[in-house]
Each structure stands twice: as structure tokens, then as C-alpha cells.
Amino acid sequence: MGELIVPILAFVIAVIFYAAAGSLTRIEGFPMNSATYPQALTVMLMICCVFLIVRFVIKHREYASAEKKLIFDPRIFLALGMLILFYYGLEYIGYIPSSILFIVALSWILKEGKPRILDTCILPIGLSGGLYFIFQFMGIYLPLGKLFRGLF
């Protein structure tokens, strides 16, 4: 069934875009207006998605045997959750603390055997601190976060 994720998602996106394009202002006197091009693309996308879904239904046995090898590790959702936490963390606690926490957590997920001091201390602090100052040197100021903004 995993094979259906992309065509179904793409189909839904195409429908949303098609509907939204229908409400765009139409300018007269031109061979095309704002909606023509995106609507043509969405129609083609919908046809392709339907084709992929039908193909899956017809050949589902072939796909099922291939899909047995494709197993989702539950830790992938943990990694995804960490990415989202990093995103929200930037706004509130700023770049350095959230990136340190993110690197520690990711190293912990990927670790094999005992946790190493390099992965849990040196790498996160060195990397996030180093990147912060490199970007500052380049004139790009990474977020300090709402919590620390008043301190600096």
C-alpha cells in the first residue's frame, strides 16, 4: 500500500490547486490567464496519479512482494519529531540550544553501543557554536530565540 502514498498525496494536492486556480482573477484579452497554466498542470498530474493508482491495483501482487523489503523503522518518526522540535525550538530558545539538543538526540538515535563523549558533548557544542559564528562572520544572524533575545 505504501506505493499509493505519493500518487494519493499528489492527487489531493492537484485537486486543491485546481480548485484554488478556479477562483483566480481572469484578465481578458490574453491567450492565457493566471489559471490556465496551473490548471493544465493539475489535470495532467491527476491523470498520472490515476494511472499509477490503477497500475497498482492491477499489479498489486508484484508490488506486495517488493514492499515486504521496505519496512518503516519507528525511529524515523522520532527523527521527524526532532526535526519539527528543532524548527519550533529556533523560535523560542534560539539556534545554539536547539541545535545542540537536536545533534545530541540524533546522535543518540544513530548510536551503536555506548554513548561516546565526542557524539554527546564535543560534536554538538563545537558544531553549533562553530556554525553560529561562521554565519555571523558571513553577515547571517541565526535566531537567538524569544527567550534569550532580551539578554543580548
Binding site: 499528489a10 523503522d73 525511529r75 524515523i76 527523527a79 521527524l80 528543532f86 523560535e91 554538538p124
Partner: protein, 512 residues
């Protein structure tokens, strides 16, 4: 002053030199580490180039392209594990030579052949691209439209599954419609300020190529780099490479020249990259050799041929990318996105508006080969050792640099959110074998396609017939049709079937 001489000024500038060496280093490093690719390196580095002048940014990126084609040979020869697809063929003779105790000579030959291949194909690019551009510069809206369509067709038809590839392209094209259009109307922004000027390309590229790697690695549970012990052991015993002596080089000049031509030509064809060039040249050289039986046993010709051809693809890949805006592979598809980021036009207009910049790119394609030799001599051991780097260090490093890069590109936290969304899309695309290149190219060329279509239709009352009335435009339509047809009817397969049929008939007549 001729723009070619003016462009040389960037290579005496400390920033230009630093970028040239940094590009060569990063390209070599990423291609030496199995599992990482040059495109991934480019995706990670792309946001960082914002702060650089466009010339320095492209010295870094083109330098990287050269490095990505070279680095794979180091692990291919020493460990029999090619770091990059273009070096697979090098294992055939490279590793047997290494096992015979001639590792220093093997890596020396691979480095020298890469240098020759890259430099000569860079020279071909230098002289051929401007000639082709003289023709392309006369293009109007109909030619631009059909050219972009041809570029899309060329990239879509690279994939095994045409429908999945088309879905990827349509998704990219649809994304390109977000933001303000030609009429000044905002489309699909849903009140988001972040999307007013369209979907920023950096978070899309970084998300699909680099951040999605985090999800893939977590899913595949590979904490320790496979064969890490073997890499470390090889690095410990690594001997300084030996550059080949003149008496070995001179008899192989015709071989290398043939491979340069084959590599450049194959590189020119969309989708046929270093891997194909290496195997084709290896087979051709084996066929015309006086001692074909020695190929595969660890001979110099078996290293010189694939490595020369592999690196010679650089010139071939860059000609259609720079002159026509048609990328030959994933790396150049992402590189086209970099043109937009730096406010450069894609395709023929580049030659008219930025000649000095283009010569900077040409010189980089030539000079980057010097950095390869230096890294081969000084850093061979380091690159083999780097291939053993633990995933628990490597992946967080890639993740945090990529996420930070998303922010740096737009100065908005929303870009990181977009990067995360595209990492999920990248993960799903990778898992269910949807190619990335059509998506990136669709996003890059989408607005050009729409604008040139509108302009073309306004130019002519006959509607779509305008694309068949102009010679260059008709040529691109025909080429697109040929590319589509050859995905269904493969000439190679027909020839193979005919050969098999005639061989069977011969056998039958012999038996009778």
C-alpha cells in the same frame, strides 16, 4: 579586454583560489564516502553560496563537480568499493593492481588520467560552448519554450518509470506557479508572506537531497559506516601515490585522447554520465587492444581509459547546461537552480549578459583538475580514512549544516519548515523510486515555460502552430519526440535482438 582574460582575474584573487580548492576538496570528499553523492554536497553548500559573489560561488560549485568525478577512484582502487558510480569501472583493474602491491602507481595513474580527461574536456567546453551560444543567442520566446520542454523531456525520460518521473516534473512545475505571476496576481500563497515571490529553491533542494538523508539513515539503522575497519586498515597502510613516468604516458596518449572524445560526447547526452562513459571507453579500449585478455588483471590501460572518460564528461555535461539550460544529470539540474539564486538567466541569455562569468566557469572546469592532483598527492590517505567516519557523527553534521543553510538562504525560519516538508517528500520519492531531478528542474524552469508560452501565443494568431513554424523551435519539438520515442523503442535493444537473431540463424545454418 576579451572576457576570457578578464575572467582569469578571479583566479589570482584569494577568494577565487580558496573556492577552487574548497570545491575540489568537498567534491572529492563526498564522492570518496560511499552513500554520499556530489549532488548532496551541492545541496548542502548551495545556501552558503548566498554570501559569496556569483563568480566565487560558481568556482566553488564547478570545482565540486570536478572533485565528485575524481574522489570515487581512491576507494575504488584501494578498497574495491567505488565511492561514486563513475568509478565502478576503475575497480576492474585498479583494485587488482592495488593487490599486486602497485597501489601507489594505480592511484597515480587514476589521478593523472582524471587530470588529462578533465583538462582536455574543459578546453573543449572553452572553445565549443561560445560557438554553440552564437546560434542559441538568437532564440525568441517560441524557441525558449520548446527548448525548456526539450530539457524537461530529456530529464523525465532518464528515469526507468516514465510516469513517476512525469509526476515528479509536474509537481515541480506546479510548485513554480506559487507566488506572483506575469499579471501581478498572487497564486496559491494562502496569505503567506514567505511565498509571495515563489517557492524558494534552496529549501526544496536541501530538503529533498540532504535532510531526507537523515530520515533514510535512521530508517536503515546504519550507525557505523559499512566496512569502516577495512577503510581504516587501508588508510594506515596507504602509500603516497606515484605520478606515472613519461615512458608510460607517451604510448598512452592516443588512448587518452580517444577517451576524452568519448567522455565529452557521452557527457553531452542527457543522463549518460561518468558511469556510462567509463564503461564504454573501457570496452572500446579492450576491443582495440592488442592484449584484450589482460584487461581485468590489473593493467594501466584499464585504469587510464575509464578515469579519463569519466572526468572528460565534465565538459560535455556543462555545454548543454550553460548554453541551452538543459541539465545532463542531477548535479547540473541543481546547479541550474543556483543560477536563479544568484540572479542569473538560464540558457542562451547567459552568454549575452554575463560573458565574463561564463569564462570563469570554463576556467574553473580546467583549473579544478589541478586541485585534484594536489589532493591526490597530499590527501589520499585522508579521503580513504574519511570514508570510515561514523554515521552518528556524519549524519548530524549534514543535518545541522543543511537546516542552518535553509535559514541562511532566506533569513526566515519558515524556510527550515519548508526544508523539513521536502525532506519527507524526498524520503518518499527515494523510497518509491520517484526521481528528484525532474522536480528540481520543473521548479527552476516552470516560470520560464509559462512566460515564454504566453509570449509565443501572443506573437502568433495560429496558436500552438508557432512552435512548428520556426526552424529551431521545430528542431526541439522533433528532438523531444525522438527522446520520448526512444524510451519506448530502444535502438540498443533492437540492434541487440537483431544480432542475436542473426547469430541464431548462423548457428542453425552451421548445424544443417
Amino acid at each position: 579586454m576579451h572576457p576570457a582574460f578578464e575572467a582569469l582575474g578571479f583566479f589570482v584573487d584569494p577568494l577565487g583560489i580558496a573556492m577552487l580548492f574548497a570545491g575540489g576538496f568537498l567534491g572529492t570528499l563526498f564522492s570518496a564516502i560511499p552513500g554520499l553523492t556530489g549532488t548532496m554536497a551541492l545541496a548542502i553548500i548551495l545556501p552558503l553560496t548566498y554570501a559569496l559573489p556569483k563568480e566565487a560561488a560558481f568556482i566553488l560549485m564547478v570545482g565540486m563537480l570536478g572533485g565528485t568525478l575524481y574522489g570515487g577512484c581512491l576507494t575504488a582502487i584501494s578498497i574495491n568499493i567505488p565511492g561514486a558510480p563513475g568509478s565502478v569501472c576503475t575497480t576492474l583493474d585498479g583494485h587488482p593492481m592495488f593487490k599486486k602491491g602497485k597501489g601507489a602507481e594505480a592511484i597515480g595513474w587514476a589521478t593523472f588520467a582524471s587530470f588529462v580527461g578533465g583538462t582536455l574536456s574543459g578546453l573543449l567546453l572553452f572553445f565549443c560552448a561560445p560557438q554553440l551560444a552564437k546560434f542559441a543567442i538568437k532564440f525568441g520566446a517560441p524557441e525558449f519554450f520548446t527548448l525548456c520542454i526539450f530539457g524537461m523531456v530529456a530529464v523525465i525520460t532518464l528515469a526507468d518509470d516514465l510516469v513517476k518521473s512525469f509526476v515528479s516534473a509536474l509537481f515541480g512545475l506546479l510548485l513554480s506557479t506559487i507566488g506572483g505571476d506575469l499579471f501581478g496576481i498572487l497564486r496559491f500563497t494562502y496569505g503567506t508572506r514567505f511565498l509571495l515571490s515563489g517557492v524558494p529553491i534552496v529549501p526544496v533542494v536541501v530538503g529533498t537531497f540532504a535532510i531526507s538523508l537523515v530520515l533514510r539513515e535512521v530508517n536503515e539503522r546504519r550507525a557505523v559506516q559499512e566496512n569502516a575497519e577495512l577503510y581504516l586498515e587501508t588508510a594506515r597502510n596507504y602509500k603516497q601515490m606515484k605520478m606515472p613516468p613519461l615512458n608510460e604516458i607517451i604510448p598512452r596518449i592516443p588512448l587518452m585522447l580517444r577517451c576524452v572524445l568519448m567522455g565529452t560526447f557521452i557527457g553531452f547526452l542527457p543522463g549518460a554520465g561518468g558511469n556510462i562513459a567509463a564503461f564504454v571507453s573501457y570496452n572500446v579500449e579492450k576491443k582495440i587492444s592488442k592484449h584484450p585478455e589482460e584487461f581485468g588483471t590489473g593493467i594501466i590501460d584499464g585504469i587510464a581509459a575509464p578515469e579519463t572518460a569519466n572526468n572528460a564528461t565534465v565538459g560535455g555535461i556543462l555545454i548543454p547546461t550553460l548554453v541551452l539550460g538543459i541539465p545532463g544529470d542531477q548535479f547540473t539540474a541543481v546547479m541550474l537552480g543556483a543560477f536563479l539564486i544568484h540572479g542569473l538567466p538560464v540558457g542562451p541569455l547567459l552568454f549575452r549578459e554575463n560573458p565574463v562569468f561564463l569564462y570563469v566557469v570554463f576556467w574553473t572546469a580546467i583549473f579544478t583538475n589541478v586541485t585534484m592532483v594536489i589532493y591526490g598527492i597530499l590527501g589520499g590517505r585522508f579521503f580513504v580514512k574519511a570514508a570510515a567516519l561514523r554515521k552518528s557523527i556524519l549524519i548530524p553534521l549534514i543535518a545541522i549544516v543543511s537546516l542552518t543553510g535553509c535559514f541562511a538562504a532566506t533569513n526566515q525560519i519558515s524556510a527550515i519548515g519548508l526544508g523539513i516538508v521536502f525532506s519527507i517528500i524526498g524520503f518518499l520519492f527515494n523510497r518509491y523510486k520517484y526521481p528528484f531531478a525532474p522536480l528540481i528542474l520543473g521548479l527552476t524552469l516552470g516560470s520560464i515555460i509559462e512566460n515564454s508560452l504566453l509570449q509565443s501565443l501572443q506573437m502568433n494568431q495560429n496558436g500552438m502552430m508557432i512552435f512548428l513554424e520556426r526552424p529551431a523551435s521545430l528542431l526541439f519539438v522533433i528532438l523531444s519526440l525522438i527522446f520520448i520515442l526512444t524510451t519506448f523503442i530502444k535502438p540498443g535493444d533492437i540492434i541487440k535482438r537483431m544480432a542475436e537473431k542473426s547469430a541464431a540463424q548462423k548457428r542453425l545454418s552451421k548445424n544443417q
